[in-house]
């Protein structure tokens, strides 16, 4: 991942890449990063999801990348438009941590696990296999997906680098 083009994905944002470019999102806490990849077409997409469901949205025009239930279909649409074959698509998931823990934990503290659960439900509904994940825990993650190989590299302060 030294000289590859880096395509940045911000918070509540999504992007796609092909032919060896690397998709990258930083500082996932309770947010989850979902990637879709077609190995043959070398087409990939990544979304940085913040909240589990758009039911709680109070904004007028919602940002589909922000909510799990709208982000997954939107990302699928974008990688298909890039020429990916739906039957070859595989998903990987990272993030969904609980950054702070204390007694009397309110619902907002469980937002990480709920984000991950919600994404998995959507993947199941859309029939996209989830082949690897690194979710939960209490630490932040930065992730990079190589659009050629489909390898997802995960970096964290406590656990260093790992690939899934």
């Amino acid at each position: 991942m030294t000289d590859a083009t880096i395509v940045k994905v911000g918070m509540a944002d999504l992007n796609v890449a092909t032919g060896g470019a690397v998709l990258r999102t930083t500082g996932l806490g309770s947010c989850v990063g979902l990637t879709l990849h077609d190995p043959l077409r070398q087409a990939a997409g990544m979304v940085h999801i913040m909240l589990p469901s758009s039911d709680i949205a109070l904004e007028g025009a919602i940002n589909p990348a922000k909510y799990a239930d709208t982000a997954v279909p939107e990302l699928l649409e974008r990688v298909l438009r890039l020429g990916a074959d739906r039957r070859r698509l595989v998903a990987k998931l990272a993030g969904g941590a609980q950054m702070f823990t204390f007694a009397g934990a309110s619902d907002s503290l469980r937002i990480g696990p709920r984000n991950a659960e919600s994404v998995k439900r959507e993947l199941q509904r859309l029939n996209i296999p989830l082949i690897a994940e690194d979710t939960g825990g209490h630490h932040g993650r930065t992730i990079e997906l190589d659009s050629a190989s489909g390898v997802l590299t995960i970096r964290s302060v406590q656990y260093g680098v790992k690939e899934i």
């Binding site: 944002d13 913040m50 922000k66 702070f100 009397g104 907002s108 630490h139 930065t142 964290s156």
Partner: protein, 206 residues
């Protein structure tokens, strides 16, 4: 936000004053704890896109030490006391006489000391704010994390997340003497809290 469509500048000034008073008391508390002068910059109040909030403390991947408290009561919100690892180390040395190990890992005792410092500072921030507004504001039990700034701060943006893609942040910087290292006090009231803050401070909403 609709509430800010009129008299934006004036309302921002009021919030700046909120930050000034709250952080002023917190800085005094910190200065007493350390028995050293603590300077404070004029608070900045602004709508910051989620993506850019971590830039205030060095970027999304910058490792920071953060004490987080949820504010409950009449005007709920999220509060963070953020500092660099160097600054946390200095704070531990100066305050608790703890000689931190060279490694990046913090011991149970160090984390608990940092948590308590955050607790005292947030407590003085909130109690001065409560006196000013006559609102009830109570901090939750504090929680400390050493991790990427982006991962930590996103936790404080969830309430704004349902409203749009930016949050109203009251940011005050602490400086210790001439040292470069500094601490930040972030107060992110929930979107619903602004009306209560304004009403209690006599800001006309119509």
């Amino acid at each position: 936000m609709e509430l800010f469509e009129r008299d934006l500048e004036f309302k921002m000034d009021v919030l700046r004053e909120v930050g000034n008073i709250g952080a002023g008391h917190a800085a005094t508390a910190l200065s007493r704890l350390l028995d050293k002068p603590i300077d404070m910059a004029v608070p900045t109040v602004s709508f910051v896109p989620f993506e850019l909030i971590a830039d205030r403390v060095g970027g999304s991947e910058e490792v920071v030490v953060a004490v987080f408290l949820r504010v409950d009561g009449d005007a709920p919100g999220n509060m963070f006391f953020l500092m660099s690892r160097d600054q946390a180390r200095r704070l531990l040395e100066g305050l608790a006489g703890i000689e931190p190990a060279e490694s990046d890992a913090y011991s149970e005792l160090e984390l608990s000391a940092l948590c308590e410092i955050g607790n005292i500072l947030a407590g003085s921030y909130l109690s001065s704010l409560a006196d000013l507004t006559r609102l009830s504001l109570t901090p939750s039990v504090p929680s400390v994390a050493v991790d990427m700034a982006g991962a930590i701060l996103s936790h404080g943006l969830l309430q704004f997340g349902t409203m749009g893609d930016d949050a109203l942040l009251i940011d005050t910087t602490f400086l210790q003497g001439r040292q470069e290292a500094k601490g930040h006090f972030f107060f992110i009231p929930d979107p619903e809290s602004f009306e209560k803050l304004f009403v209690s401070l006599g800001v006309p909403l119509e």
